[in-house]
Symmetry: C2
Subunit: 256 residues, 2 copies
Amino acid sequence: MLDDGAQPPGGALYRKVAADLRESIAAGEYGSGGKLPAESALAERYGVSRGTIRQALSALRADGLVTSRRGTRRVVLGTTRVQSFAELVSFTNWARSLGEEPGGRVELLERRPADAEECEQLRLDDGADVVLVLRVRTLTGRPVMVERSVYPVWVGELLTGIPADAVSHTEPLQEQGVVFADADHTIDLVLADEEDARLLGCRAGEPLLRERRRSTDPVGAPLEWSEDRYLPGTVAFTVHNSIGRSALSRRHRSAP
Amino acid sequence: MLDDGAQPPGGALYRKVAADLRESIAAGEYGSGGKLPAESALAERYGVSRGTIRQALSALRADGLVTSRRGTRRVVLGTTRVQSFAELVSFTNWARSLGEEPGGRVELLERRPADAEECEQLRLDDGADVVLVLRVRTLTGRPVMVERSVYPVWVGELLTGIPADAVSHTEPLQEQGVVFADADHTIDLVLADEEDARLLGCRAGEPLLRERRRSTDPVGAPLEWSEDRYLPGTVAFTVHNSIGRSALSRRHRSAP
DNA sequence: TGTGCCATGTTGGCTATACAACTTCCGTCA
DNA sequence: TGACGGAAGTTGTATAGCCAACATGGCACA
């Protein structure tokens, strides 16, 4: 038990405890709807302080795996959940975790001046350049999504050396020290334009699920501003939130 | 400073600190991209321990308001964000927070045996009854969303006494001690059927943004299983996630 | 000039303790 | 039998302290 296997801040004790508890829960050790041992009991079992246990449980709580209420033991909510942040930011990681073969092709990679929204999103000065990458992503050969990403030049020029049929873009970036730490996602619906239709092999005007995403590094510097358009029926987005911890919100759009 | 104004577990010190910091950030006191004071400085300012400050900052971190990295002071990511959990679960609260007039009409309220998925989602035995509520929701008179919710009978029968034109359903439930604590959302795309078209005043086959939601109480008991269908262009869902704290996930659907 | 090292500031992680608030259950008493 | 009350168990909140890991800037040295 207490197997290792995390890379971000790696060796933290509470992460190992959390990982072990996740496994136990997924294995049904406490049943679905069953009660977890008390914090003090877990502290003794793992040989750590109650504070560390609480740190671990807080992570499970945020993932929606367990409840937490003053006065009673924690209850198992779901038996499995959660994708790592890496699986969300990287299409490649996600596909692999599904057992599907990720693919993709760069349709366009160019450097050009940023427009108003790109400046806003990437916090660039007016007139600054950005690198635009247009890619079609496939799952086991089938086109699933078209991705239009713009990067600040200092990020984008790291991508110019990558072959056009490279499976992953985020992995080489990570290797060069670019760390994706935060992301804001906006999900709505959009109709395919002619370019979408051509790239995805659908008809123009067909509805697509759109995810716009702004990713930042640990310091808060914008790394990527991307608009992904998914063919319907291929993906769904799931979110968990709880009272006092709601990363999800619903936004109104008065002007279509 | 340190204004009150939270109702769930109300009086916690770290919540007041967090609320105060939120205000300061929203007021631009540290600038966008600016540095927050050190934890120790904040601890002294508020007259609390560093642990309490860290608890408050952890909440802001989860909301994506500030960064956190070992070695450097925290940086302001965004100036404003976040809706309370109540605004997400309740259409009424949400609409009010937008300054729009929420409306709605119950098209159908009936008690009937649950089907297979409803049993699964609400953790009911086979053959158990559920209460189905079909409602059209309007924003300042304009129909925006159709909501199909099923409740376990013990929740549903609390709704039967409510007038058909009642604005909110969740509020009367809360008053009777039903607390919504956790929710799982799945967002995807669906085409309007005849009923949707009739209720929303659109054409059948038109694309709609669908949110399926399962809400549970603090003990983990399912309270509601709902499917909401939004007219395109009226809403967008936004999610924030960060490395190590990802409540969002992307799911594959192999069989449409 | 430029490079590398070190002191300092800052957050992450962990422990220990104490009390408050709440739930559950059991036993007592009417 | 039923209601009330209290004891025990459990999580929430807060404090204090310690060290490690990391970032930054300045200083010394080549």
